[in-house]
Symmetry: C2
Amino acid sequence: MRDVAAHAGVSTRTVSNVVNDYHYVSATMRAKVQAALDELDYKPNLMARGLKRGRTGIVTLLLPKIAVPYFGEIAHAVVERASHLGCTVMIDETGGRADRELALLDEAARSGWVDGVLLSAEGLNGAALANLPVDIPVVLLGERTAKTTHDHVGIDNVGASRDVTRHLIDIGCRRIAALGGNTSRGDMTSRLRFKGYRAALRDADLPADDALYARTPQYTRGDAAPAIRQLLQLAEPPDAIFCFSDELAAGALRELHELGVSVPGQMKIVGFDDIDETRFCIPTITSIRPDKADIADTALTMLLDRVNGSTVQPHDVKVTYELIARESSAASTSR
Amino acid sequence: MRDVAAHAGVSTRTVSNVVNDYHYVSATMRAKVQAALDELDYKPNLMARGLKRGRTGIVTLLLPKIAVPYFGEIAHAVVERASHLGCTVMIDETGGRADRELALLDEAARSGWVDGVLLSAEGLNGAALANLPVDIPVVLLGERTAKTTHDHVGIDNVGASRDVTRHLIDIGCRRIAALGGNTSRGDMTSRLRFKGYRAALRDADLPADDALYARTPQYTRGDAAPAIRQLLQLAEPPDAIFCFSDELAAGALRELHELGVSVPGQMKIVGFDDIDETRFCIPTITSIRPDKADIADTALTMLLDRVNGSTVQPHDVKVTYELIARESSAASTSR
DNA sequence: CTGTTAGCGCCTTCAC
DNA sequence: GTGAAGGCGCTAACAG
């Protein structure tokens, strides 16, 4: 920058003014400096600028695992949106573990690199999320915590689960199983989706049978198989399964195929998240599609508002979702 | 830091020494400073440190699209390995476009944020990659460019393609199609895989029929359908298809299902990359598994070596791969 | 409208 | 072994 100033015969202040589009610079001056800038191929050192300004334009995205399709799609939406907003995204993986979530949050907060954090928490429970020991802007992604002490954006998990369960009921299912997570483990995802599922059953005056909830350690494709076997061994097996993630649904499809159970002929399957893969599975999988671009947009906007000093009440934004009916829950005429 | 120094009754120099594990500090001093550090909950400002040191410990990973399963899995491996090596990963998407690749590379190089770049190039051709106009360490990921002017890590694409094609020949296929990309478009991936495919045909004295290569705009699931239809309309349709990505293979499976062609009964399918999904498709998909953890490890190690000033000849490292035979290429006894 | 200057928080050469 | 001081590149009061 000093070189540029010397080259243009002005002070660094003026160079800075031009670089930062300061309002009061004469056109001639601006042109002169710009020429020097171009000639010397000047690019500001963002680190120095960050140090001075106390802001970097970097946000951290904390995810359980980037290779999980749903998180990959969210990350894509965030990165894309961020680039439009002129900021850069750092990604770290928490493995869905509370301690890692806390540690990475802390690191982000204290390193000075990062203006704010988007946290897709999986390990931390509501209470822990309610008082995160950080003084950096945080926006929570995904399932909701009890108290809203931080901004949060997600979809109405209960409503969506209710919708997709009712969809199954509408096409004639009467013994609907739920599959995924563990509601008694403080895992918000399964809790909310289970709640919606039960609500739909109630709405339709269907009995709620505890045996019809099959727990899984995670939400991956591989977790489905044991749960499916468990459900099929029931004296009265289900005629439909609401899987709490599309990956579980894909795994379920696979296991049912191995067991010779036809979908949707003998069993209806629905998933959640609408990952790209569901459109190509055999059969294609009915799912709930959260508006991921909107999630990314809303979350980043809220985060940047906080970074810019907004102190309004923490907001809880619900983004729209859509039920996408596909083959796996087609009302079967033939079998 | 000044606060800590005051609190401990020493100079900032000594604090710095303790923080950075400088060798010559008396144990008592170290203990005293450490106590102050703990008490004040000191965390160094990485931005200031970076500004001073000229190094940040941040590497940028430039990918076409993070939501693509293969890249998601690579990103996971990189992020995980990086955290072991004590550095952080920034992710940006190029969309596979040469101009974006160049622009993001340039930005990374000049911003001062980033120590080095891992670039999974898709748009830039060999010549462009050979003389990237950047003075920042870069390690190329994936398909190889002609000249080795930068470090590069990937698998032997030609060899792997040859292997998987031979696998099809071994189980009795005689009319093997290739599907994916466009070899005449400067797209390295398809070029190398096509080359291996043709080599295997030659090895087995099978004729090379140009009609058996179906081009696709990209490597996504959705790109497969038109290509599949094209192949099936041939006077002599293929009895096997080597898809240049697993996503294409999954899309092919879907389209063949819709057309009533059974896999592996009437048609064998193989893919490439071994994304997680292949283990759960119906049928499961035979694929080439590059050692992704090794790719990440090797690439980061090479990159950090460069960052640390290594000036050895650019290296081209080939990581191992494995042919994973699955149902989609099972020698069918029944149909 | 533009020049001068004091740090942002840290590391590190130089003395002691 | 430890203290003092300069400066990494930039921004933003504070003059002028």
